[in-house]
């Protein structure tokens, strides 16, 4: 295995990044930064270890840095979001999921996606996020509960009707 292997991971890195970052431009920026870093740091990759978890770890670091930078750009972003408010054509439920995900704290979103979407084992997820497995489990638990509440948040109107 050598650094040419990195390219093989691009589709899955994109999938994860899209779910993590929201819009596709920002997600691809995240992937691009991750790839550039992975190539530059390839000598640090431990042969025999899982390259995917390693690349997710790099993406995690890039993502965290971008979040920090973005906080400084928050005002610009808000203006941009107003311009990009056009609805997408997904089904209502899936759009709700996308919106609900964005409302999760980033650390819970990461765990939920690494485990649920990317199907990493808990220990691989811990490796990627540089936290112990216990932390993975507590974030997973809180993230799933929060997602459940957010997703059922659309329901109360129906319940009120029933009461009436």
């Amino acid at each position: 295995m050598d650094s040419t292997e990195i390219a093989a991971h691009i589709p899955r890195l994109r999938r994860y990044a899209r779910a993590l970052a929201g819009d596709s431009d920002r997600a691809d920026d995240l992937v691009q930064d991750t790839l550039e870093r992975a190539l530059a740091k390839f000598h640090l990759w431990r042969r025999g270890s899982d390259m995917r978890a390693w690349m997710f770890a790099i993406m995690h670091n890039v993502f965290i840095n971008q979040l920090k930078q973005r906080r400084e750009l928050a005002l610009d972003e808000a203006a941009e979001a107003r311009l990009e408010g056009a609805p997408r054509s997904d089904s209502l439920e899936l759009r709700d999921l996308d919106a609900a995900l964005k409302r999760l704290p980033a650390e819970q979103r990461e765990v939920l996606l690494l485990v649920g979407l990317e199907q990493l084992s808990y220990s691989e997820a811990g490796q990627a996020l540089n936290v112990p497995v216990g932390t993975v489990m507590s974030r997973l638990s809180r993230g799933r509960e929060r997602l459940r509440v957010l997703m059922s948040g659309a329901a109360p109107a129906t319940n009120l009707k029933l009461v009436k």
């Binding site: 589709p11 994109r14 779910a19 550039e36 530059a40 459940r148």
Partner: protein
């Protein structure tokens, strides 16, 4: 079977349990409607995530990601360019070293622009990441990456049309490179970097890196370098037009 923890339930939902443990959890679920419901919801969440994002796997791959993830194409060109210019690799561009010293930064700037020209101007198949046919997207993307709104000068009067642009690693952050070409296939690149250190503005300056001419200047937060393999006098006319449009 009270020793079944919530973590076990998650691991069960995610299919991450050993067989023996899985059977224990199943036995517990048979008598625990609440836990069963939780597991059902978590599995549903996993499936919904995959349904929503799996289509990304089949989307066409942007060229910039292919380039970013492919080592072979990049290094030989860097090496080639460095060789052609008679440079050592220790100058910071390859190593993407961060420099705090403003004076070094200013001197290195036209040099890096010339190397970037030497790397990409000869490219036949992928001289740019995003073509001029998507100019709006290109400018928006590069502006976002540099954290500053960029303008693309129009050089039609000078006989050059925009080919497109790409994002490059700079010594202190991302750098935008716009490429132009004339009817004879002669190329010019405009290298735009965000100023990190050094003077706020400089006059129009000239530098020669082997046979590559570079005009460069700093205007506020941005540094510009126009490079081409042509004599100083010929590039000057183009550089003057660029300068007038970008730093009026």
């Amino acid at each position: 079977m009270n020793d079944i923890t919530e973590a076990d339930l998650h691991a069960y939902a995610d299919g991450q349990l050993e067989e023996a443990r899985r059977l224990q959890v199943e036995a517990r679920l048979a008598n625990d409607a609440e836990a069963t419901e939780s597991v059902r919801i978590w599995r549903e969440q996993n499936e919904a995530l995959r349904a929503l994002y799996n289509p990304v796997l089949n989307e066409p791959m942007p060229q910039r990601l292919v380039a970013a993830g492919t080592p072979r194409r990049r290094w030989p060109y860097y090496a080639l360019a460095a060789g052609a210019l008679g440079l050592s690799f220790g100058l910071g561009w390859m190593a993407r070293a961060h420099r705090a010293d403003g004076s070094v930064e200013i001197a290195a700037f036209p040099h890096r622009a010339a190397v970037a020209y030497a790397v990409y101007a000869p490219e036949v198949r992928h001289p740019v990441e995003v073509g001029a046919d998507h100019q709006d997207q290109l400018v928006k993307w590069l502006s976002k990456r540099l954290g500053h709104e960029l303008k693309v000068p129009i050089l039609t009067q000078q006989g050059f049309e925009l080919v497109g642009g790409r994002l490059l690693p700079g010594s202190t952050g991302p750098v935008a490179q716009f490429m132009y070409q004339n009817a004879k296939g002669k190329r010019i690149t405009l290298y735009v970097s965000r100023r990190q250190v050094g003077p706020r503005d400089t006059a129009f300056r000239f530098s020669q890196e082997d046979n590559i001419s570079v005009f460069y200047w700093i205007d506020g937060t941005l540094g510009y370098a126009l490079s081409a393999e042509m004599p100083r006098s010929r590039l000057l006319a183009v550089a003057t037009a660029v300068y007038k449009q970008l730093s009026p």
